[in-house]
């Protein structure tokens, strides 16, 4: 019997080494270890053995079973991993083939920039306020210290609807409406479309966008204006951004300042991009003129404030190196899909 057991083990191991698929392996398992298998058949004869032989053979039988089982498992693992390997190999793809197209809409570059500016100001506690684009002369000019025949009106060639109604040339009109309706403290930005009768070319458009800002409270200083705008510039253009403030004139602010950004290209040395100036003019600002405050029913002896206006097109074109403003309104897919 001992011999029989050893033969089973030998033949099982021999057959196992020849097996090449899981199915045959399973058949072998049944043949050797199954209920009607060879090993079981031998064990059924155990009863015929003497008391001395029985434990010895029993032990041997168990060892043979264990050995065959281990061999089976090892062979099964081997076959499985081989099969998996083959499958993976067969399924290899050309990963350089193009992907399946997914449609993803693109936001317009002007709106991408606008949203970023809005986030900066929301973070600083500025509400976003909107107002009419078709506006009265009063809100666009008169209330902003620009009576009829004011020379500054010349520089803002205006589209008129009738003598009293026009297309706003600036979103400052929204600031006036806000000051009339809200009590200080006021912190707002007013983004939107504005209109000036400039013919379309690479740097002009009869319609463009402005973002104007207004802060009114007790004790607002010109230093606050500088701090706020410097922060905006750093958020938009990076921490290393350098700005300078330069006196200018606007009828609705006093003192007035223009803010220049150090030219990215030449770092202030002067190059063709900044017209040799080293600086690029970016926005206008100033302390709100006391006449404007008075006009809106705010006492300039108690309150002060600052205002500023940025051209959205100018920032956007700078950020993306867009050299022709017409591209922004032409809406060619090949342009829009770049953003």
């Amino acid at each position: 019997m001992k011999e029989q057991l050893q033969n089973i083990e030998t033949s099982a191991k021999e057959e196992l080494s020849k097996v090449s698929d899981i199915k045959t392996l399973e058949e072998l398992r049944v043949r050797f270890l199954g209920k009607k298998g060879e090993l079981t058949a031998i064990l059924k004869q155990m009863g015929k053995l003497s008391a001395e032989e029985r434990p010895v053979i029993g032990q041997l039988a168990n060892k043979v079973r264990g050995d065959i089982e281990a061999a089976l498992t090892a062979r099964r693992d081997e076959l499985k991993s081989k099969a998996e390997e083959m499958r993976l190999k067969a399924e290899t793809l050309d990963v350089t083939l193009p992907g399946k197209k997914q449609k993803i809409g693109r936001a317009h570059p002007l709106d991408v920039t606008l949203e970023q500016v809005e986030e900066v100001f929301l973070g600083m506690g500025f509400d976003i306020v909107e107002g009419p684009e078709v506006e009265t002369d009063h809100y666009c000019f008169e209330a902003l210290n620009m009576p009829k025949h004011h020379p500054a009106r010349d520089t803002q060639d205006t589209f008129y609807i009738n003598e009293n109604v026009l297309l706003r040339t600036q979103t400052s009109s929204v600031q006036i409406r806000t000051m009339e309706n809200r009590k200080p403290p006021i912190r707002i930005i007013s983004p939107g479309r504005v209109y000036r009768s400039d013919a379309v070319d690479a740097t002009h458009s009869p319609l463009f966008h402005q973002i104007e800002g207004l802060v009114i409270d007790k004790g607002i200083t010109m230093a606050d204006l500088k701090g706020t705008l410097e922060l905006l510039m750093k958020r938009l253009y990076g921490e290393e951004t350098q700005v300078r403030f330069r006196p200018h004139h606007f009828p609705y602010t006093e003192p007035s300042a223009e803010v220049d950004l150090m030219c990215f290209n030449c770092h202030g040395k002067g190059c063709s991009m900044c017209k040799q100036e080293g600086w690029v003019e970016l926005l206008g600002s100033g302390m709100v003129h006391p006449k404007v405050l008075e006009e809106c029913g705010i006492d300039p002896e108690v309150y002060s404030g600052f205002a500023f206006g940025i051209g959205l097109e100018r920032i956007t074109m700078g950020r993306y190196s867009i050299n022709d403003m017409r591209l922004l309104y032409e809406n060619d897919m090949r342009f829009l899909e770049q953003f």
Binding site: Q102, K103, I104, G105, R106, A107, L110, D111, E118, L122, G125, F126, D127, I128, E133, V134, E135, T136, H149, P151, F159, Y160, I161, V165, L167, P185, R187, S197, P206, L207, V215, D217, G219, I220, T221, M222, A223, D224, K226, G227, T228, E230, R244, F245, R246, P247, H249, P255, A257, Q276, M287, P290, S304, Y329, E330, N331, D332, M333, R334, L336
Partner: protein, 803 residues
């Protein structure tokens, strides 16, 4: 304003490097646009003297010159000019030099001309970049023979020798500072900016005896528009060219020298910023000057030779009969200074800025004079300007100035003044500038600080409040020396519900693959025809621009649809294979009885796709996606009926257009474009468009959501195919199924619509997958079957039979 640095140096020390001057003066408020060195393109051109000149042996018109250019030995140069003589001093462009040719710099090198060596070139004025106005004694088509007003040092750089070496700085002067449109004004700014001394003396003249009032009468008929009129008379005038220094400065300032009297008036205007005028007394009829409004239909031929019709609101300078000048704008042709003029009237007056501005605009002639007057000059400064002109006449020996002057309508006033408080200024600026420093700055700018008030100098017409004084202090102290601080206090800000809603709509559009566009708010009225709008459509009632750039941008859009289609059509013409766009933009709707129109926000969608075969249902999917994204409920889609609120329905294919309703309200219209409209836009691919009313949709949508527990029990699904008449809309079938299945219905999904074989003509087979589920337990087959039986029965009742 072009500033000559040589001229500036008369009044203030300005020998700092030009870069420092430019950045310093810019940062104190006088912005420099650019600067350039006169004649900087000239290289290696020097003064030479002709020592010998002989005809060229091989030419009948050329000469061989031997020139002394200060190099020890003579230099041989061949010239074709006919005006050169022995001993003449001429500009010599040596070997390896640069001169101008046809306005462009060119290199000159030695060579041979018809066999004779020529080691350079003799130059004409043009080759130096000048013309005969700069040197009236020179000839245009010949070599420039240096006159006695030039430095004839042999070998000297030509730019220095003829005074063509100024630095010209171009300023952008803001409209509140007409005083800076002058050399003295900018000298004052320079002195204040760089802490230098301003050296301006009061101009004076000796004069000759005589009573000006006997020679000329001046009457101001409109004292509002003419605040002061000063006149002086110069007798025995000698008209001729003005001296080189004066011509040089005029040229650097961009003014062409004419003759001594015209030049003096221009010189004074540039120096003092006060426009002046000179008349020939011969042509002032009746020897009287009337400052009056023009009469209706009155005409004048101005100095530029153009006859202009005047209107009654324009102020003119007239003699006894006719206007001789348009006040503050331009003189008349026939009263100007001629070569034979013997007696000159100088006018220095103060005209109302707004009136000059309006007149100049109406006559379409903005002149150096009007652009100074229109900013509002003050009456006090007229006097000094006139004195300066008279002084220059004497200095130039150009005539005899009558001692007495005419001075009409002069009223002395208190200078503009405001309260002065150093504390207020520091609190306003956020600075800590000592009071003494403020006073020093203000005095440098010629303000006077006295008894708690600050008095502005006469020429500062822009001072009216404390903030103006703060600005003066701040700009000289330096804006960039003011600290940067953060606004104190906490403020809470958030987007408004409207802004959030629009953001949500935009996000939904982007997620569905539509690109955002920006289009003009104004359109052409022809666009209404392009979308086939009926002639009587309310949308043709527009907000119309009185002074548009052109018809294409002349009316504010009352519908966003044509704006979208323009973009789609443009992309098609660019041969882009697909175009998917949307815009969130305003429409501008006039409101009866209101001053301003309504400006509602609209969503416009447009697309075509030549590659993937997108269709009506692609568009409908987008509309459904939007409704889902904004949480709108109770949505219906139907064919536009007679009550359709959208006139744009005319733009759509009548069989492929739908109105979307939310809670029974019409919110939008969408569909395939009418073939005629596609043709109007030149699009050959099927094109789809939509317009959705955003404020209305916002009102009907819901952004508060409550969680519904996820189902615990499995769903049971049954398929159902029915055959019905072609005309029965799917929405009706679905409604019947929903009602019949009742509470256990989870979803009804249409998965097939079939026409053709096995289906009777005029009928269609519609297949639904119906999912049912109960929250209480697993549905039994019996429950599901009963629900389905009910659905079949009720479908049958409307003529849809089980297939």
């Amino acid at each position: 304003m072009d500033l000559s640095m040589k001229w500036l140096a008369d009044y203030v020390d300005c020998d700092m490097p030009i870069k420092d001057f430019v950045s310093g003066i810019t940062l104190s408020g006088s912005k420099v646009e650019c600067y350039n060195e006169e004649g900087d393109y000239l290289e290696n051109v020097v003064v030479g003297q002709v020592k010998e000149i002989v005809p060229h042996p091989n030419s009948d018109h050329m000469f061989i010159c031997q020139l002394d250019v200060g190099e020890g030995s003579l230099v041989q140069i061949v010239t074709g000019a006919q005006n050169v003589k022995k001993d003449d001093f001429v500009p010599v462009a040596k070997h390896k030099s640069t001169v101008l040719h046809d306005g462009k710099p060119v290199k000159i090198t030695k060579g041979k001309l018809r066999g004779e060596a020529s080691n350079g070139m003799l130059c004409s004025l043009g080759e130096l970049g000048l013309n005969i106005h700069d040197f009236p004694y020179a000839i245009e088509d010949g070599i420039f023979i240096l006159g006695d007003d030039c430095d004839k040092t042999i070998g000297k750089d030509i730019r220095e020798a003829i005074g063509f070496n100024d630095t010209v700085v171009e300023f952008e002067i803001t409209s509140n500072r007409p005083d800076c449109m002058s050399v003295i004004g900018l000298a004052r700014e320079t002195a204040a900016t760089f802490g230098k001394e301003l050296k301006v003396a009061k101009p004076e003249f000796k004069g000759v005896d005589g009573d000006v009032n006997e020679m000329l009468k001046v009457k101001i008929h409109n004292t509002d528009l003419c605040k002061r009129y000063i006149g002086a008379i110069v007798k025995n005038v000698k008209i001729g060219p003005s001296p080189r220094w004066m011509r040089e400065r005029l040229r650097a300032s961009g003014v062409r020298p004419i003759n001594n009297f015209v030049d003096i008036t221009n010189y004074v205007m540039l120096e003092y910023g006060r426009p002046m005028h000179a008349f020939d007394l011969r042509y002032v009829e009746g020897a009287e000057i009337n400052v009056r409004n023009a009469k209706a239909g009155e005409k004048i031929t101005t100095l530029d030779g153009i006859e202009r019709e005047l209107s009654e609101d324009m102020l003119v300078i007239a003699d006894a009969k006719k206007p001789v000048a348009v006040a503050g704008v331009m003189g008349g042709e026939y009263s100007g200074i001629m070569d034979d003029t013997t007696t000159v009237v100088f006018e220095s007056a103060c005209f109302d800025g707004a009136s000059v501005a309006t007149t100049a605009k109406k006559l379409r002639m903005r002149t150096d004079a009007s652009s100074r007057y229109d900013k509002g000059l003050d009456p006090h400064e007229c006097y000094e300007a006139l004195m300066r002109a008279c002084q220059l006449v004497e200095e130039l020996g150009a005539g005899e100035v009558v001692k007495t002057v005419i001075d009409e309508n002069y009223q002395s006033e208190t200078p503009l003044n405001v309260e002065f408080s150093a504390d207020w200024i520091n609190n306003f600026l956020g600075t800590d500038i000592p009071e003494a420093e403020m006073v020093r700055i203000l005095e440098k700018l010629e303000f006077t600080v006295k008894d708690g008030r600050v008095y502005a100098p006469w020429f500062r017409v822009d001072i009216g409040c404390k903030a103006d004084i703060a600005e003066e202090v701040a700009r000289i102290y330096g804006y960039n020396s003011i600290p940067d601080t953060i606004i104190r206090g906490v403020a809470n800000a958030q987007r408004t519900p409207k802004q959030n809603f629009e953001k949500k709509v935009k996000a939904a559009m982007l997620s569905m693959g539509l690109n955002e566009i920006e289009t003009f708010s104004f359109i052409s009225p022809k666009y209404f025809d392009k979308i086939a709008l009926p002639a009587d459509s309310k949308l043709r009632n527009t907000v119309t621009i009185m002074n548009p750039l052109g018809e294409d941008t002349s009316v504010m859009r009352t519908t966003i649809v044509p704006s979208i289609l323009e973009v789609v059509g443009r992309n098609y013409s660019y041969r882009n294979p697909e175009c998917y766009v949307f815009e969130l933009g305003n429409e501008y709707i006039p409101v009866e009885g209101e001053v301003l129109p309504n400006e509602p926000v609209r969503l416009g969608i447009g697309f075509y796709d030549t590659e993937t075969g997108a269709d009506f249902y692609t568009l409908k999917g987008m509309v459904e996606g939007l409704m889902n994204a904004v949480g709108a409920e109770n949505i219906e889609y139907e064919r536009p009926a007679d009550d359709c609120e959208f006139d744009e329905v005319s733009a759509f294919h009548p069989g492929r257009c739908a109105v979307v309703k939310v809670d029974g309200r019409q919110i939008g219209i969408f569909g395939e474009l009418h073939p005629k409209v596609m043709e109007n836009y030149g699009i050959e691919a099927r094109t789809y468009a939509a317009k959705i009313n955003i404020p209305e949709l916002m009102e009907l949508s819901c952004d508060t959501k409550t969680y519904k527990p996820l189902p615990k029990f499995p769903a049971t699904t049954r398929d159902l195919s029915v055959v019905c008449d072609e005309e029965v809309p799917a929405a009706v079938l679905e409604k019947v199924i929903r009602k019949a299945v009742g509470g256990i219905l989870e979803s009804v999904t249409l998965f097939d619509v079939y026409r053709g074989e096995q289906i009777e003509a005029g009928k269609k087979s519609v297949s639904y997958s119906i999912s049912m589920r109960s929250l209480e337990g697993t549905l039994t087959d019996d429950q599901a079957d009963k629900a389905m039986e009910k659905a079949v029965k009720e479908l049958s009742a409307i003529g849809a039979e089980l297939r």
